[in-house]
Symmetry: C2
Subunit: 334 residues, 2 copies
């Protein structure tokens, strides 16, 4: 047996168990603002027990891909691969589409670089978009996590073309794009021979435990990903819920408007507390200031936020789930 080394665990938000140990005695319920997951989930209807009991059928998987293509702006379901969470796609892209090297626009979600490195790829983190053009392959998050940085579609197109010209790859992770109606998705550039776009289901729909994510690519690229994942990678409930939720454009539009207002409300609270808001998306805000101090004070008050070891003055805030949580957050920030 030979095997590549197992990956080390990275720091992630959402670890309430660890937070409860770190802030023992903090008031309950703990408020988790450490992730960028919509705190109010899409309303899940009662499930057909067959979705648990039976093996998912090919027709159900195709229906999900049809709904995803429509929601994300891919021309055909052939250009869609569905996975049990985007993380698994992040894990496997370096294996499915091996590259001579990768430049990542950073700082950004750390799993990308970690997974490419685990596959043996040399990874360079670059700070300027233009520097991506020099690499064999390129990756960016769009909008970026945690600072919300965006790139124009024309620039993405030029980058994808440059990658195609050298037989390379451009991965655009649009995990937080769904609720940013003014953002034009890189998926509109498909089919493109070098482009893979990632979309996350769980964040937008507040159903992160369901595990559902998508890759959008050329028909050949998407077929390669589906071939690696095999016939039943997505669970029956995720197929049923995903297909229905992705077709619910009115809910998505309502959430985009509601969350825009809530993000503005959060920004005002953070600024009033002396933090500087650097950016973000409608599902999280990035603040700069005494991050360690605020993380501790909020933690002791039962509110978990997301610090960044490499950026010690940054603290990321998700959106409070209800008025009680807003009140507790405001009381600490006051």
């Amino acid at each position: 047996m030979s095997a590549s080394m197992a990956q080390d665990g990275l720091e992630h938000g959402g670890r309430l168990g660890a937070a409860r140990r770190a802030f023992a005695g903090a008031p309950e319920p703990f408020i988790d603002l450490s992730t960028g997951i919509n705190p109010r989930p899409w309303p899940v209807p009662p499930l057909d027990p067959d979705s648990w009991g039976r093996l998912p059928e090919p027709e159900a998987e195709l229906a999900l891909r049809v709904a995803a293509a429509a929601a994300y702006g891919a021309a055909t379901p052939d250009m869609v691969a569905a996975a049990p969470g985007t993380q698994l796609l992040i894990q496997l892209l370096p294996r499915i589409f091996p590259q001579a090297g990768l430049a990542v626009l950073g700082p950004t979600y750390a799993e990308h670089a970690a997974c490419w490195r685990a596959a043996g790829t040399a990874v360079a983190e670059v700070e300027r978009f233009a520097a991506l053009f020099d690499a064999p392959a390129a990756l960016l998050c769009h909008p970026n996590n945690p600072d919300g940085r965006r790139v124009g579609l024309r620039a993405l197109h030029a980058l994808a073309d440059a990658m195609a010209a050298r037989g390379g790859l451009l991965v655009v992770d649009e995990a937080f794009a769904d609720l940013e109606p003014e953002l034009v998705s890189a998926a509109t550039l498909l089919p493109h021979p070098a482009l893979v776009v990632l979309r996350s289901f769980g964040k937008t729909y507040g159903l992160a435990g369901l595990r559902l994510g998508f890759a959008l690519a050329s028909a050949a690229g998407a077929a390669a990903i589906r071939g690696w994942l095999g016939p039943w990678a997505v669970a029956g409930p995720a197929l049923a819920i995903g297909t229905a939720a992705l077709a619910d454009a009115p809910w998505r539009a309502g959430e985009a408007a509601r969350l825009a207002a809530e993000a503005a409300r959060l920004d005002a609270l953070l600024e009033a507390a002396g933090l500087r808001v650097l950016g973000g998306t409608r599902l999280f805000r990035l603040a700069e200031g005494d991050a360690a101090g605020w993380h501790q004070r909020l933690g002791r008050a039962g509110i978990l936020t997301r610090p960044f070891a490499q950026q010690p003055r940054w603290l990321r805030f998700g959106l409070p789930p209800d008025e009680a949580a807003w009140a507790r957050l405001a009381a600490v920030l006051r």
Copy 2:
């Protein structure tokens, strides 16, 4: 972008949509005997909505591995990797543990050979267990699907040792082992440097749509698999349900007894119809005879069975879910 070829779809049981098209006008409800999935699921309790909403926490994943280690006879949870269905493990094993060649004891579940071939490995199907010793790596299903063939633990141990001596791999797929109390699992040979044992959750517990499966291996081997799958490959509901169900040894013992009686009842029906029962497990029976004729007659009566293109006289029967289904099956077989 470069990518290996997407895999062609193989024929599988459980495709009711296709069956309804093939047997248009057959009486409903269609009875699906084309799989080896327990028709009476483990009773799923109401789920905590957090299992859908939140990202699964590391503690929940560890709890599942603790339960799986105990249920399957692995010494520690370090020796367990949990996946969203065993199929994904079958897809990825050829990538995680690449081999110079593989011998498969056949005929058996076709996805194994297909996935190794898709990864570029030369695969030989051999009919005799002894022939596995000659290959760089070996794979068998235990008990075998569809004929139920078993191998003694001493023979498995010798084969694992032979593979270890050449730096190879032995994969033992025990998808149908849970309800065969007299079968000694290859997992009892762990830790062993060459051995990977696969266990399926959905078949035994009648929850195939949930997508949950396991690899048992040395601590290093299991860590390599976990590293490929990443932190959240298994959905929150699957973690919760899997942890509880794997701890339910009384339910499992009851099912083993109940299904032994039902398998005997099915054998008697098949033999009375002039079919010869070749073997199977407590979740399916393999019959020999006019398979094409019976598949057609049963299909027109709304009962789906599993034929095999390469073995035209074989027909596999799952267990009827209730007395109404038994009566409809008996009426056709009479």
